[in-house]
């Protein structure tokens, strides 16, 4: 499955159906009857392969299917959609962006007062969600809510493209890059123990899917594949940069939700160094990940987050380097091989 196909799918937290259906088909094709593909009630997708050797650890490798986006609250009398964000989307970066609303992909634009109509006070202030609305070009509340009923989800309408010297630009790189790498793991890994690849839901609103998945799988070890913020642009001093695009797979040390297992992190770093796989430390600790609920589940699960560095994460368009996606895949496969020797 192509990365461009994956990122084009729409799957705001709580509405991952489209992504799940496509991944399910792909996982079934890859496994071809050599394992089980199933979902649970919250919507996680599991692709599990039995152990080939006894006594090996049960490994859970996961990536989240959901992306940040918007949810429609109601329409105003003059047909504008009032909405809120699902997951963390900075309202300063969304005015004038094109969006698609609901299952029928109704096109809209996020409207905001033009600059020459603003008061001095408004000029100084960044807009918040109460000042923004989605304009779908209709004039009445009835028509707007017929096309886009309250509860409809909206996503950025951003075309995927390859650009520059090895970058791709797209919406939803967080975390379709993880899903993309996870498909590669499912297809290429020779891990000798039981391998459970889990595509989780609702990460962006607090890793709710992963909590359910960890309880179900009860893994001995967990790898979480992510798209993470890069912040390596412009005049950001080196000590404020989180990770560098082109620097390889990002190995996390901690985030707001988990301190990575020290042994697993050391093994990942050694493995990368020994095999010449480009890798870098994550130099910040912002944000939570699925590692949060997974590592404290059951009696505790050694967990590690590894990621592709992405610029402008949670923005309408993010950038990442294809070489870093390759590196994350290579490192995950190599690390599983090392864990499989234990």
């Amino acid at each position: 499955m192509l990365l461009s196909e994956l990122t084009a799918l729409r799957g705001v937290s709580g509405c991952e159906d489209e992504v799940r259906a496509a991944l399910r088909k792909e996982a079934e094709r890859i496994l071809g009857g050599r394992g089980r593909v199933f979902t649970d009630t919250i919507g996680n997708l599991y692709a599990c392969r039995d152990a080939r050797e006894p006594g090996k650890k049960r490994a859970m490798v996961c990536a989240h299917m959901d992306e940040v986006g918007f949810i429609i609250r109601f329409a105003t009398e003059d047909g504008l959609l009032r909405f809120d964000c699902v997951g963390g989307v900075d309202p300063r970066v969304i005015a004038s962006r094109r969006v698609l609303v609901g299952e029928n992909r109704v096109p809209g634009v996020i409207g905001f007062k033009a600059v020459h109509l603003m008061s001095d006070e408004e000029m100084k202030k960044a807009p918040d969600y109460s000042a923004l609305s989605i304009d779908i070009g209709v004039s009445t509340k009835e028509e707007a809510e017929r096309l886009c009923p309250p509860g409809s989800y909206a996503t950025f309408d951003t075309a995927f493209m390859e650009m520059g010297d090895g970058f791709v630009m797209s919406k939803a790189l967080d975390d379709r890059v993880g899903c993309f790498v996870l498909l590669r793991v499912l297809s290429e890994s020779d891990y000798p123990g039981e391998l459970c690849c889990v595509f989780t839901v609702q990460e962006e609103v607090g890793s709710r899917g992963a909590r359910v998945a960890a309880r179900r799988i009860q893994p001995d070890i967990a790898l979480i594949l992510e798209g993470t913020t890069a912040n390596d642009m412009g005049d950001v001093p080196v000590e404020k940069q989180v990770a560098r695009c082109g620097g390889g797979a990002v190995i996390s040390l901690m985030d707001r939700s988990a301190i990575m297992d020290a042994q697993l992190r050391a093994l990942a770093k050694q493995t990368a160094a020994r095999r010449g796989i480009p890798a870098q430390d994550k130099r910040a600790v912002a944000g939570g990940t699925d590692a949060g609920p997974i590592h404290t589940s059951c009696g505790g699960v050694p967990s590690l987050v590894m990621a592709v560095p992405c610029r402008y994460i949670h923005f309408p368009a993010s950038l990442c380097r294809l070489s870093d996606i390759d590196a994350l895949g290579a490192l995950t496969l190599a690390l599983l091989e090392e864990v499989g020797k234990q």
């Binding site: 080196v238 301190i259 910040a284 404290t296 009696g299």
Partner: protein, 333 residues
């Protein structure tokens, strides 16, 4: 009180997420007192003293970790940049002497142009390095720094140390556990937990595997007994063990609170009631585990919590030991 063991427990290096040294000290002290001892996947140390089969399983939890600064990078002049692991009041770290798990030492400074309200992003650690390369070679990204361990005895009864939260309770739990006799009604499971300061993570995992009938955290609590104290906190040093009614993360199970207060009264153990409008303890994680577990906290009052000068009164520590022992000997409903 065994001051030698207490000093060892207070001075072992043990940043949140890096509790191995503390665990080793405690495991040694447990000796043969436990029926079984295990370390789980997160690093919690779990010691079991079996009951006679007619009572309940009580989980007692004290956390081994303490708040830390984590290295995320260094600048070109060799100053380490950091972030916080746990609630580190940045202002209180400035000019503190800190220690790393690999033995390196440093002092904490703050950017000259930092605002009055400091955050960890404004802090740096000077380890005496002259370049980024030297700094990161000696202290790589991901190393954890804690306020350098030391213990100050103040007067007859008071003790100050950076890791008082929650090593003083680890020591108290050791005293309680090692004095348990064979053939008790209740089974007692002592959990020396990890990663409490970043969100009760160790106790969350341990509560699941221990599956207790009753949960008790032993922890420190803040006091309102210093000059200019804000917030009307009723707890004070020297007034005995504090029985928690509530904090931000937990409303203690009413019968557990009543049983603790009753045990204190019956045995003449000095006790005070605790209401803390902030904070949380391992008991909150135990209380919400599985289908819910009746839980409470016995606290040791502590001044200057989350600073390098955390101060307790040894008479309160003794009261907490006595009260915990009296509680686990009771018949549980």
């Amino acid at each position: 009180m065994n001051m030698e063991l207490l000093t060892q427990v207070l001075t072992a290096y043990g940043a949140t997420g890096r509790e191995g040294n503390v665990r080793a000290v405690i495991e040694r002290a447990l000796g043969a007192h436990a029926d079984s001892v295990r370390t789980d996947a997160m690093g919690n140390l779990i010691a079991v003293k079996k009951g006679d089969g007619t009572g309940k399983r009580i989980m007692l939890s004290s956390h081994m970790d303490h708040i830390a600064l984590v290295v995320i990078d260094a600048d070109e002049h060799g100053f380490l940049r950091v972030c916080a692991a746990g609630g580190v009041p940045a202002g209180k770290m400035v000019a503190q002497h800190v220690a790393f798990g690999n033995g390196e030492m440093g002092v904490v400074g703050a950017d000259g142009d930092a605002p009055a309200e400091l955050t960890p992003a404004h802090l740096y650690i000077d380890i005496g390095a002259d370049s980024r390369e030297e700094a990161l070679a000696r202290v790589p990204v991901g190393e954890f720094a804690v306020a350098a361990p030391r213990v100050a005895r103040m007067g007859e009864h008071r003790l100050a140390s950076p890791a008082m939260d929650d090593r003083i309770a680890c020591y108290a739990l050791l005293e309680v556990f090692c004095a348990l006799e064979d053939g008790m009604k209740n089974e007692v499971v002592a959990v020396f937990s990890v990663q409490e300061e970043v969100g009760l993570r160790g106790a969350t995992a341990a509560a699941y595997s221990v599956e207790p009938d009753v949960g008790v955290a032993l922890d420190v609590t803040a006091t309102g007994d210093v000059p200019g104290a804000k917030g009307h906190l009723p707890m004070k040093l020297g007034a005995g063990a504090a029985v928690k009614i509530l904090d931000r993360d937990m409303i203690a199970t009413p019968w557990v609170v009543d049983a603790m207060l009753d045990a204190a009264q019956q045995a003449g153990i000095p006790a005070q009631r605790e209401v803390l409008p902030f904070g949380g303890t391992d008991a909150a994680a135990i209380q919400r585990s599985r289908g819910g577990v009746p839980s409470g906290t016995i606290s040791i009052p502590c001044r200057y919590v989350h600073s390098a000068a955390e101060t307790v009164d040894l008479r309160d520590v003794q009261a907490a030991i006595d009260l915990t022992r009296a509680f686990v000997e009771r018949e549980m409903p």
